[in-house]
Symmetry: C2
Subunit: 273 residues, 2 copies
C-alpha cells in the first residue's frame, strides 16, 4: 500500500477541509499521514505552507495531496502558483458555478465561525450542551418539558455519547435516562418520563456486545455477566415495545449514524428531513 | 434576498454533505431552507429523493441546490439523469482526479462510519468522551496522567464545551479544572495539576462577557457582578502568566476555533500540525 502525506489548508479552523478530505480519502485503501495547517490567512503563511508541502514532496518523492478551503483569493493564488502538491480546492470548484446559478457574488469572507460566538445559534448550542450534561443519566427531572429528545436504554447502550453529540452537532437539548432493574420490576417507564413519551427514543444493544463493554469497566461482575446483560436487554426491549417507544440497536452503529436515525424519526422542528 | 431550498443527499449520515454544503453556502448572503436526505442508498430511495427535489423546484419556481456525497454510482446516476436541481457532487468531482494521481481505484463503498463501531479509533473516542465527562469541572484527580489536555479557567470561561468537543471530534482525553478564589488566595495552581503543567492550557474571557453569561444563570448575584468577574479574570490571568501556562481569550471565539488553537499549541502526538 502506498503511503501519502495529506495536507489540510484553511484560513479558518480547517475542520471543513478535514471533513471534506477524510470523506474523499475514505474511498481509497491507502495509508496516509495527515498534516493540518489551519489559520493560513496571510500571504506569508501561504508561503510557509507551500514550503512545507514542497519540502514533503521532495523528501518523500511523491506529490502530497492538498485539500484546501481557502476563501481568501490571494492566499489561494500563492498555493495555486507555487505548490507542487495535488491541489483539491473545494471552494474554487463549487463557489464559482454557484455564483452563476444564484446570480449573486460570494463574499469570500473567512467565516463559518467568525462572530458566531455572539449568534443565537451559537448560544443555543452552548445551552444545549449544558442541558444535556445536566440531564445525563437521569440526573435531573427538572425542565424535561424543554428537552427535544429523551433517550432511554440500559446502562452502556450509548445514551451519553449520543446525547452529547446531538447537543454539540445539532444544538438539540437531549436528556437521557437509564432503564434499570427497578423499572423492569415495575414493568413501567420511569414515572418522570411518562408525560414526554413522544420525545422518547430507545437505544438497545446486542447482549454480547454489552457484556464486552461492561466488562471493560467492571470485569467479572454480575453487572457485566452475559446472563444479566441478556436479561436487561430483553426486559428493556419488551418495555419499549409495550410503551410504543421507537428504538434502534446501537451494536454496529457509530454515534453519527445513531444520531441521524433519531433525528429522522423525531423530526425536531428546526431540522427538516 | 433570495431564498432557496438546499438538499443534502447522502448514502450515509449526510454529515459530510452538510458540512461541505454549509461551508460553501456561508460564502453567500442568502436565506436557505435545508432538507436532509440521509441513507439514500437504493435506486428506489434515489427516485424518492428526485421527486422531492423536483417537486420543490416546481413549487418554488427556483432550482434547488443539491449537495451530494454519494458513493454508490447507480444512486448518483438516478440523480444526475432525473434531478432538476443544481447538483454539486463532491465525490465525483474529486475522486476521479485522485484516482489518476494515486494510480489506484476508489472502492465506492459507503463507509466513513461503517464498521467503525468496532474500530480502535472509535473505541478511543468513546473512552475520551467518558474520560472528559468524569474529569469535568475538577470532579476527579484520578488518572490525570492519561489526560492529553487539561483546561483551566474561571467558571463559565468555556472549559466544558471545549473539553467535550476535543473528546468528541478529536478523540482527545481532555480534563478541565476551575480556577476558584481559594486558588487565587493561595496564589498557586490547584496542587493536583502541578505535575501536569505541560498539558495545561488556560481559557480566559473578557469580564463584561463573563458577567453577561453568569447573569443568565444567577442574575443579580455577587458571582455574576462585574466587579467580581473583573477580579476573577485578572487573578486567573496573573496566575497563568506566573505559572507559564499558555492561554487564550474565548470571548469572540467559537468552540471549534478554541479547540483548533489548543491543538496547535499542545500538539498531541496523534495529530500533526
Amino acid at each position: 500500500m502506498s503511503k501519502r502525506t495529506v495536507f489540510f489548508v484553511s484560513d479558518g479552523t480547517g475542520i471543513t477541509a478535514e471533513t471534506f478530505g477524510n470523506a474523499i480519502l475514505a474511498q481509497f485503501d491507502m495509508k496516509t499521514r495527515h498534516v493540518r495547517l489551519p489559520f493560513t490567512d496571510t500571504i506569508d503563511k501561504a508561503h510557509q505552507a507551500v514550503r512545507k508541502i514542497n519540502h514533503t514532496g521532495e523528501t518523500e518523492g511523491k506529490k502530497p495531496i492538498v485539500f484546501t478551503t481557502l476563501v481568501n483569493m490571494d492566499v489561494l493564488k500563492v498555493l495555486q502558483e507555487h505548490c507542487q502538491g495535488m491541489l483539491l480546492d473545494m471552494f474554487g470548484t463549487f463557489v464559482n458555478p454557484l455564483e452563476n446559478e444564484l446570480g449573486i457574488k460570494s463574499h469570500h469572507r473567512v467565516g463559518r465561525f467568525s462572530d458566531v460566538s455572539k449568534s443565537k445559534e451559537y448560544h443555543d448550542r452552548i445551552e444545549a450542551i449544558n442541558f444535556s450534561l445536566a440531564h445525563d443519566d437521569g440526573q435531573s427531572n427538572r425542565d424535561l418539558e424543554s428537552a427535544e429528545v429523551i433517550l432511554v436504554g440500559v446502562s452502556r447502550s450509548g445514551k451519553t455519547p449520543t446525547s452529547l453529540y446531538l447537543a454539540m452537532q445539532h444544538g438539540l437539548k437531549a436528556a437521557n435516562y437509564p432503564l434499570i432493574p427497578e423499572d423492569f420490576d415495575r414493568r413501567q417507564l420511569p414515572p418522570a418520563l411518562v408525560p414526554h413519551r413522544k420525545k422518547i427514543f430507545g437505544l438497545s444493544i446486542h447482549p454480547d456486545r454489552l457484556a464486552e463493554i461492561r466488562a471493560e469497566r467492571r470485569p467479572n461482575s454480575r453487572y457485566a455477566s452475559i446472563e444479566n446483560c441478556r436479561m436487561e436487554v430483553s426486559e428493556a426491549e419488551a418495555m419499549m415495545r409495550r410503551s410504543g417507544i421507537r428504538w434502534l440497536s446501537t451494536t454496529t452503529k457509530s454515534i453519527e449514524e445513531i444520531a441521524t436515525t433519531i433525528l429522522q424519526e423525531i423530526k425536531p422542528e428546526r431540522l427538516v428531513y
